[in-house]
Amino acid sequence: METLVYIALFAPFVGSLFAALFGMSPRAIFVGVVASLLLATSFIASLLLAINLYVTGEVVHVTMMDWINAGDFNVAFGFVVDQISVSMMLVVTLVSTIVHIYAIGYMDHDKSFNRFFSYLSAFVFSMLVLVMSDNFLGLFIGWEGVGVCSWLLVGFWYHKPDQAREDNPSISPSWAANEAFIMNRIADLGMLVGIFILYWNTGSLQYDEVFAQLPYLGEGVLIGAAIALFIGAMGKSAQFPLHTWLTDAMEGPTPVSALIHAATMVTAGVFLVIRANPLYSMEEVAGVSFFIASLGTFVAFYAASMALVERDLKRIIAYSTLSQLGYMFAAAGLGAYWIALFHLAAHAFFKALLFLGGGNVMHAMHDELDLFKMGALRKKMRGTWIYMTVASIALAGLPPLAGFWSKDAIIETAFNEHTYILWIMLVITAGMTAFYSFRQVFLSFHGEDRHTALGFHPHEMYKFVLVAMSPLAVLAVITGWFMGTYKAFIYQIGESVQYEMSDHTHHLATYLGLIVIFFAVSGIAYAYYKYARTGENAWKRSEKVENGVLYKLLINQYYVPKIYEEVITKPYAMLSEKFWTHVDLKIVDATVDNIAKFFYASGDNVRGMQTGNLSNYLNWMAVGGVILLIVAALSAAFV
């Protein structure tokens, strides 16, 4: 078992190093193939571990080596494969294997093909360190690792120039990459503080040791740790107010968006809350947990509202990711950790599928993402159309697809906890989700053909790419059917993750589900009515709506990026400018310069001594001797 753990963990690392060897050489298909095969190896190892865990129920815990030994402070490179981490491992390795294969096709024409695979595999390795580590420090290393890889990959096309915010809300890939990185840095500080608080009070960083001591800690400590860790989770999972980076991160290549900014990395925050579930389910931190649930619900609604009017295909999917992350936090905050984890897995499958489908469209449309320039693509891209439709149904939450089961369970949880406001918001959001996801499908694949007139000649993606995507499509359909199995599996951990609906909710479950389905179906129907029909005015955008306040608010993301720019970025830049001209140039630089100038001037002045006349030298020598004598005499007199 130990070997399997190491294979699962290090296969992507080997793949990354292998691809890095060819990082500077021209495109070589075998680099992509080898990286994909190693990922597949990692997936198979994870699968075997999962099966073993399911059958025997034995948690595999390995310690690779001592990492830090300093006084009383001991941290080992330890990895744990329990029900939580193995779920994540399966999701991460499966989605990343498919994304790797997809990228072989998608990045076909890119000259940095090999470099791309190196980064992508390095990301998977970091992500696995994050989920498999048995201590907070290892988790933090993985956490930062995925951050770096995300930065590298979002800014993969760093040569693209900056654009005005009005033309492109995310300005440029390098700008978006920096935004993502800096915003995550802010949150990571919170996370570090949380880790410090836990270490300071428990004397350990191992999960099991820390959690075992939680009941003996004071209320303030628990609340502080819970809040600080959640701030870290907010950054990585792009929760309000640290959410703007996620949509801007769409500047990266689409496989990156699918893998990092939909399926895996952004769920790390949810994973952290689930991992720390003994902390978040404490009586004392109930307030924090409820805040998490409320914030999650708010973000779900908030992101969905922005997706309603967005015209950029990838940004719509990014908003939906944000919204679904909100759902996961709502579930985790309400204590239904296993439901959050299940939604995380289901979401990873259908969202990755949706993104990859979006990538196909983007590839076919030569990087054009405006939905209003597409239309009727289904005739030319049948396979992609089917995938996108399946993924959108799953996202909209219609039975029997994956999204229905997991999302319905979350909504049910909100009802079960008697948090009816959250419940109503989540139900409405479900309707909005259905609307915007089908708005996107209808605008791109149905309705009037708008792209031909604009000179686009779309073509379907390579066959092997479509075949590679099929497992995701299958999983997007069937994942929900195994909810019971998964529940039994995750319940093996123990009481902390178990969550059951009350009998009352159980009775009403059917009606609750029907309400959600009703909202979803009406959302889809409205989208169909608005965007799918053909004919003169069927899809025409109405000037009146687009000049309305609400539309302006939504399309500008509630002006949050603008506010950040005006309130934070610009004053900061001004302040930096002031510090540069007044402090740096006038104090720091001036000090250094003056030291140099002093020596230069003194050298210049005493140069006159160098007359070349031996007699003068002897005189100076005598002067020196006299000075030494005086100094010696003085020191003898006073000391």
Binding site: R607, M609, Q610, T611, G612, N613, L614, S615, L618, N619, A622
Partner: protein, 100 residues
């Protein structure tokens, strides 16, 4: 009674005379003479102090200094002759060719 301090005062006076010679003279040959005067001033001090402490080391040193001074003069005079042959002068003001 002539004591140690008298010797040391004589030594200091001779040393000062030598020093002034080194500082003021322009002729290299004179500089050599002045140096010899200073060395001998030191020799006087060595001999006197050695006698005062009843320790022969100082007098031994004085002999060494005399020997080394002799060899130094031999070498130095050789250089002076070469210099004179080359420049036709031993005046330091004429020999300043290393002006910075």
């Amino acid at each position: 009674m002539i004591g140690l301090s008298h010797y040391l005062i004589v030594s200091a006076i001779i040393f000062s005379i030598g020093l002034v010679g080194v500082l003021r003279r322009r002729n290299l040959l004179m500089l050599f003479f002045a140096t010899e005067v200073m060395l001998n001033a030191v020799n006087i001090a060595f001999a006197a102090i050695s006698h005062y402490y009843n320790d022969l080391t100082g007098q031994m040193f004085a002999f060494f200094i005399i020997a080394i001074a002799a060899s130094e003069v031999a070498v130095g005079l050789g250089i002076l002759i070469v210099l004179y042959k080359k420049y036709g002068s031993l005046d330091l003001d004429d020999l300043a060719s290393m002006r910075g």
